[in-house]
């Protein structure tokens, strides 16, 4: 066992920190909660790409850097610590690029991976539908073959990063006769395709968090089929393992954590036993979550897809994020209810934002209940219900 980092890894972490601190000093952006999924900043993404920090673990032949998953975790951990606006490239870097690498044709790899790496291709996801949430295999959006094309009709929902996505990674039914898990396929769809339209959905913080995405006879060339036809459900489970794997599940609202600790110190609240205990308990929970997530990266480093391991770390971590938001609101007392634009608002309204936004943390990318099912059945070998 070795819980330490190599000298190179420590140097890399420092390099990322210096880069981010310089960005903040120059006033390019401010640390913000949820910036990994809501901070759209094409220029930032370009600068990150220039550092070679997108597609860090991918093969060099597609523009990647063949770095380790620990390196990538160090990178994302620091991005989250500083609340950096990384949403433009996050999905492509975290999961869609990986899906193309694992299942896509050589043509698809050559078309998309180098552009993701350069920070020039932004992705959204088309998984959930109004009638298909936790039961994703019941999805109804359909693609029908028509010569060299597929024609897609239907509706996707809860699509994060959708309003600026240039492409969607979409799962659709391609065989209505087959058992429902065996009739789903994955496509990369250009967001500008005729017939594709988006309608923003506002979340309880007042932010445009998602879009409904409608497909009305959207034509997609066959070359944009990812992997095998009708093998999409297997592929989406694989991709979800990665979607759940990262530090963003623990540190999405990290800027609030730093700020509330500082707030308690500055206002002499940290000597009050109740507040002191709450903050220390958060720190304990945070450190344990961090270890659970580093374990996931080590699973990936072995070349395995993390499965129940990322279900565990994600379910655990979103509970921490909710706990953090609640504690911050409790510490701020009546000031916690002030919105970000209000007179007297503390911590730029991060606590309020986080308190409301965190209700969704344990829903996105697999509800906590589904994750616990995965952990119980696949991790512990309990019988499926």
């Amino acid at each position: 066992m070795d819980f330490g980092f190599t000298e190179e890894q420590n140097k890399f972490r420092l390099e990322v920190r210096n880069f981010l601190e310089e960005e903040i000093e120059k006033g390019y952006w401010k640390p913000t909660c949820d910036a990994w999924i809501q901070g759209f900043d094409p220029e930032f993404t370009k600068r990150v790409a220039h550092k070679g920090w997108i597609g860090l673990t991918w093969p060099k032949e597609y523009g990647g850097h063949e770095g380790s998953h620990i390196d990538r975790l160090i990178l994302t951990e620091e991005m989250l610590r500083y609340g950096a606006p990384a949403a433009c490239h996050w999905f492509g870097d975290r999961q869609v690029g990986g899906a193309i690498l694992s299942f896509g044709s050589e043509d698809l790899k050559k078309e998309f991976l180098p552009r993701i790496v350069k920070g020039e291709a932004y992705f959204g996801l088309g998984m959930s539908e109004p009638g298909a949430g936790s039961d994703l295999a019941s999805l109804q959006t359909r693609a029908v073959e028509d010569g060299d094309y597929y024609v897609i009709n239907g509706q996707k929902t809860w699509a994060s990063c959708a309003s600026f996505a240039q492409y969607f990674d979409v799962y659709v039914r391609t065989d209505s006769e087959a058992p429902r898990h065996r009739g789903i396929s994955e496509f990369i769809v250009d967001a500008q395709s005729p017939g594709l339209s988006r309608i923003p959905m506002i979340d309880i913080t007042g932010t445009e968090a998602w879009n409904d995405v409608f497909f009305d006879n959207v034509r997609v060339h066959k070359r944009y089929l990812v992997g095998e036809k009708n093998r999409g459900f297997h592929q989406v489970l694989h991709q979800l393992d990665y979607e759940r794997s990262g530090m963003e599940r623990l540190m999405g609202n990290y800027p609030l954590f730093d700020s509330i600790i500082q707030f308690a110190k500055d206002n002499k609240l940290s000597q009050e036993p109740v507040i002191r205990n709450k903050l220390a308990q958060l720190q304990i929970e945070f450190e344990v979550g961090r270890l659970l997530i580093y374990r996931v990266a080590l699973v990936m480093e072995e070349g395995r897809a993390p499965n129940w391991e990322s279900a565990m770390s994600k379910a655990y971590s979103t509970e921490f994020e909710k706990h953090l938001a609640s504690v911050a609101m409790e510490i701020l007392g009546p000031y916690g209810q002030l919105t970000s634009s209000s007179k007297l608002v503390p911590l730029r309204g991060m606590a309020l934002h986080s308190y409301l936004a965190s209700k969704g943390y344990s829903l996105q990318a697999g509800t906590t209940e589904i994750l616990k099912n995965i952990l119980a059945v696949r991790g512990l070998g309990l019988p499926g219900s």
């Binding site: 066992m1 600790i261 205990n277 220390a280 304990i284 270890l291 659970l292 565990m312 309990l382 019988p383």
Partner: protein, 374 residues
């Protein structure tokens, strides 16, 4: 970063598991709990022959030259087996501090015998009213009288003191936290022992020193400056208790999952119900969190890195996590788990004792707060 054991450690783990599965049945544990001494001399000597007692001591004293991390692996297996033995007292509480600060004579006198299984040691630290594991809570005094120190007062919850050959007695030798450790003969007639009856059936003692004179040569480490050694010993013991508990709750998780697969109600295994599945998932998460935070602390101790915060995180986490695991294990086992015939209570009872030893979750939560600069 690496979270797997080395081949050697895997072998140690397997040997320990097989040996203890053979030697440490629940019937044996019950006998030991009911016995006066609380341990089997025969088993103790077998453990010495396996090289376990000397594992983390230098070869020149007859030890195995292995690390604290290796010892952690062994402690985990002992926790998994609920092993009743004076191992923890002798090695973690007694032998390692002697190795840390003992004079050459003290090391030569004690370590080879300890390692051969011929000597049992323990630490007399806590006292009536003692909750905080700090120097100012030590009231037992050792006052200078010509060439001797006279030790007086009561120590409480001293494990295995009644069978020990030597005690490390932590005493106050100067106002304002001048603390000295005395390595004393445990059989001195000026010491009186009462074995307390505890939840775990382990042997925690009240130890009364009645004006016991000890020579200056029995000072372990430096006069008045013993607290840093005590502190280090407490930290190591806290991690050691975490290791035992990791083994304990890992086994409880396995027992519970097995039971959930076998036990049928409504014509199906109860483990197929989501309510039970989610309980098991919560247990597994608590166990893995306990494992990683414990081994992080053990690794840092082993590497000689400063790790007060990591130790506090591990002990604070495991204190609460283990209680959640026991609660769910009992809930899933149903009434059978509440019977004395079932094995589950061995783990629950020992887990509670480990939670209370060397600082509970509340204590370490405050250590974390200090480390955060609160």
């Amino acid at each position: 970063m690496k979270l797997t054991l080395t081949e050697e450690q895997e072998m140690l783990k397997k040997t320990a598991r097989d040996f203890l599965a053979d030697k440490c049945s629940k019937e044996f544990i019950k006998q030991m709990e009911e016995s006066e001494t609380g341990y089997s001399g025969e088993l103790w000597h077998e453990m010495a022959e396996l090289g376990w007692i000397g594992l983390a001591f230098p070869g020149k004293y007859g030890g195995g030259d292995m690390s604290f991390l290796d010892l952690a692996v062994l402690l985990e297996e002992m926790g998994r087996a609920c092993l009743p033995s004076p191992f923890f007292s002798t090695v973690v509480l007694g032998g390692l501090p002697v190795l840390d600060v003992g004079s050459n004579e003290q090391k030569q006198e004690h370590l080879p015998e300890i390692i051969r299984g011929e000597k049992i040691l323990t630490l007399a630290l806590t006292e009536p009213g003692y909750r905080n594991y700090d120097a100012s809570s030590v009231k037992v005094a050792a006052n200078r009288n010509n060439d001797n120190y006279i030790i007086s007062g009561t120590k409480l919850f001293v494990p295995d003191a009644h069978i020990a050959d030597n005690l490390l007695c932590v005493a106050k030798t100067k106002p304002e936290n001048g603390i000295t450790i005395f390595l004393v003969d445990a059989k001195d007639p000026k010491i009186e022992y009462t074995v307390l009856e505890t939840i775990a059936g382990d042997k925690l003692c009240e130890v009364v020193f009645d004006q016991m004179p000890v020579p200056e040569a029995s000072i372990l480490g430096q006069l008045h400056r013993g607290w840093s050694t005590v502190q280090k010993t407490i930290e190591r013991a806290a991690v050691g208790k975490c290791c035992e508990t990791v083994g304990n709750i890992q086994r409880v998780l396995e027992m519970t999952v097995d039971y959930a697969k076998e036990r049928k109600q409504f014509d199906r295994p109860i483990g197929s119900f989501q309510a039970i599945q989610h309980y098991c998932a919560d247990m597994a998460t608590d166990v893995d969190g306990a494992r990683f935070s414990t081994y992080q602390a053990a690794w840092m101790l082993s590497e000689g890195l400063p790790c007060t915060k990591e130790i506090a995180i591990a002990k604070a986490w495991i204190g609460k996590a283990s209680q959640r695991v026991f609660a769910l294990a009992h809930q899933i086992h149903g009434a059978i788990g509440a019977t004395i015939e079932h094995d589950l209570h061995y783990y629950t009872r020992r887990g509670k004792a480990a939670e209370l030893a060397f600082g509970d979750a509340d204590f370490y939560q405050d250590v974390v707060a200090k480390e955060m600069g609160l």
